[in-house]
């Protein structure tokens, strides 16, 4: 039997694989990818200095960071998103401020919420990795007469990054999955596209199974990328054959 004809028959009369609905899924894929990628990059950039400062001996530096990571890890992301999106409106004069053009769009409040959330988790992941740097390395660096900054840059951070890699890979995947709530603030992300198709055609199985498959593909792509990184960066830890 002709494969193409068989495929045409299979898809005839179905609701999901039409040009229009696939367009929505594509739009959703783009939005989800943008949101997750940007929030992870900005969150990572924020988390590195925060993790270093979190270990500071000065309480007035480390305590605020501790409170921040505690609050953002201790409350659901959905609530944070609601507060940032629907909450900002109740700040007097916000509509006249220079921030409004950004906050008016659903994309930026969502990006802010996601970024603050992932930065909080990433800070704690790095903080743990920094703390578990072996004493021997630090003593050796001191013996060489390295300053605190140089030691951080040359010794502690590179090894901490390596140690943090598997945990951080998990955080990236969690972030992708957590981004599924973006559609509650009207964003047409992947889940938003699925909800739209579901509501329009009353086809829950097709709409959500298809989007689950898309998330699965993204998850595997991320997994693959981190496997590759770990293989390269943690090569010295693998058992020698």
């Amino acid at each position: 039997m002709d494969i193409a004809a068989w495929f045409d028959d299979l898809l005839a009369g179905n609701l999901i694989f039409t040009a229009q609905t696939l367009g929505y899924y594509w739009e959703g894929l783009v939005t989800t990818t943008q949101l997750v990628f940007l929030s992870l990059v900005i969150g990572l950039v924020m988390a590195v200095p925060l993790a270093v400062l979190r270990g500071s001996r000065h309480k007035w530096i480390s305590l605020p960071i501790y409170v921040y990571t505690y609050v953002f890890r201790g409350t659901p992301l959905l609530i944070q998103l609601y507060i940032i999106y629907y909450g900002v409106v109740f700040i007097d004069g916000i509509q006249e401020s220079f921030l409004w053009p950004l906050l008016r769009e659903a994309f930026y409040p969502a990006l802010i919420a996601f970024t603050l959330n992932t930065a909080a988790y990433t800070t704690e992941i790095f903080r743990g990795a920094i703390k578990s740097t072996s004493k021997g390395e630090i003593e050796a660096a001191r013996a060489y007469g390295m300053s605190q900054g140089l030691m951080m840059r040359r010794i502690i951070l590179p090894s901490a990054f390596r140690r943090a890699l598997p945990a951080y890979g998990n955080e990236v995947i969690f972030m992708l999955h957590a981004s599924a709530i973006a559609s509650v603030v009207t964003l047409m992300d992947l889940t938003g596209a699925a909800r739209f198709v579901y509501a329009r055609y009353y086809a829950p199985f097709e709409a959500f199974l298809f989007v689950a498959a898309l998330y699965l593909c993204l998850t595997f792509a991320i997994l693959f990328f981190f496997r590759f990184l770990e293989k390269k960066l943690l090569a010295h830890l693998r058992p020698q054959s």
């Binding site: 629907y86 509509q95 509650v184 329009r200 009353y202």
Partner: protein, 261 residues
């Protein structure tokens, strides 16, 4: 012997199941998406009320069943009926062909127009592809207004879809939306009559084409529940004849009717 028992038990079960399917309801659970003022909403005391609710309760009384209202978010309301979370939907649901494929509708009990709402300060005077280009339109996800706006203006305007009409009104007040499109009575109650800001209707109210706007609001049932739908239809005819319908109608719409004309 054992086999015989199994078979007869099975037969019993099938008989019970089929009689359950065709059963005459004495307790009807009705799915409703709250809030959707003035069709269904809660008073400040927390009591469920609105046009749908009052009319529904009246109908239930006529056909001598006890009714229970079950709240369900709009975008899952038809699947909820299918999965037997409730037996009927009376939630300002417009009758159209797309939905008719899935559910059985009663006779229409209300035919409201849809309308565009914008702040009074808005410069929008009409809703055409040119005037809506680049504007942000708010709709409730999965409603006929969503379908209409998506098909007509999806290529030129940004469409924000909301789970509830409340979130949409909140965002309208937050100036995140340029214009929104919803059932006229609901927009009237939530926007025109609100004290927060000034709103107005842009252009004419809309009831055509039938493909989107269908034949008015109907009560939805599972397809096999024809007997139940018939009972509701009889009751509807009755309340329309004896003036009870008008009484409830006037309580909610007498003023909005004036404004629409």
């Amino acid at each position: 012997m054992k086999k015989l028992l199994t078979v007869s038990l099975l037969g019993l079960a099938v008989a019970a199941a089929s009689s359950a399917q065709a059963r005459d309801y004495d307790h009807v659970r009705i799915g409703v998406d709250v809030p959707y003022e003035p069709m269904e909403y809660r008073t400040p005391e927390g009591e469920l009320t609105g046009f749908d609710i009052e009319l529904g309760n009246e109908l239930c009384e006529r056909i001598d069943v006890t009714c229970e209202w079950i709240e369900q978010e709009w975008d899952g309301i038809i699947p909820g009926l299918m999965s037997r979370n409730y037996d009927a939907i009376m939630s300002s649901m417009t009758i159209n062909d797309e939905r008719r494929q899935t559910v059985l509708f009663s006779d229409p009990y209300f035919t409201p127009p849809s309308a565009w709402f914008a702040p009074s300060s808005s410069e929008l005077e009409e809703t055409t592809e040119e005037s809506l280009e680049g504007k942000t339109i708010g709709v409730q996800r999965g409603t006929l207004q969503d379908n209409y706006v998506t098909d007509m203006y999806g290529s030129v305007a940004d469409i924000s879809r909301y789970s509830t009409a409340d979130d949409m009104v909140l965002d309208m007040e937050a100036e995140r939306l340029d214009i929104l499109f919803l059932d006229y009575p609901v927009g009237k109650a939530t926007l025109l009559d609100s004290d927060n800001r000034d709103y107005r209707v842009v252009g004419e109210t809309i009831t055509e084409p039938k493909k989107y706007f269908g034949d008015g609001f109907g009560i939805a049932f599972r397809k096999r529940d024809e007997a139940l739908a018939d009972r509701f239809n009889d009751a509807l005819a009755e309340v329309q004849q004896d003036g009870t319908y008008d009484e409830i109608y006037n309580r909610y719409f007498s003023e909005s009717k004036k404004n629409a004309e």
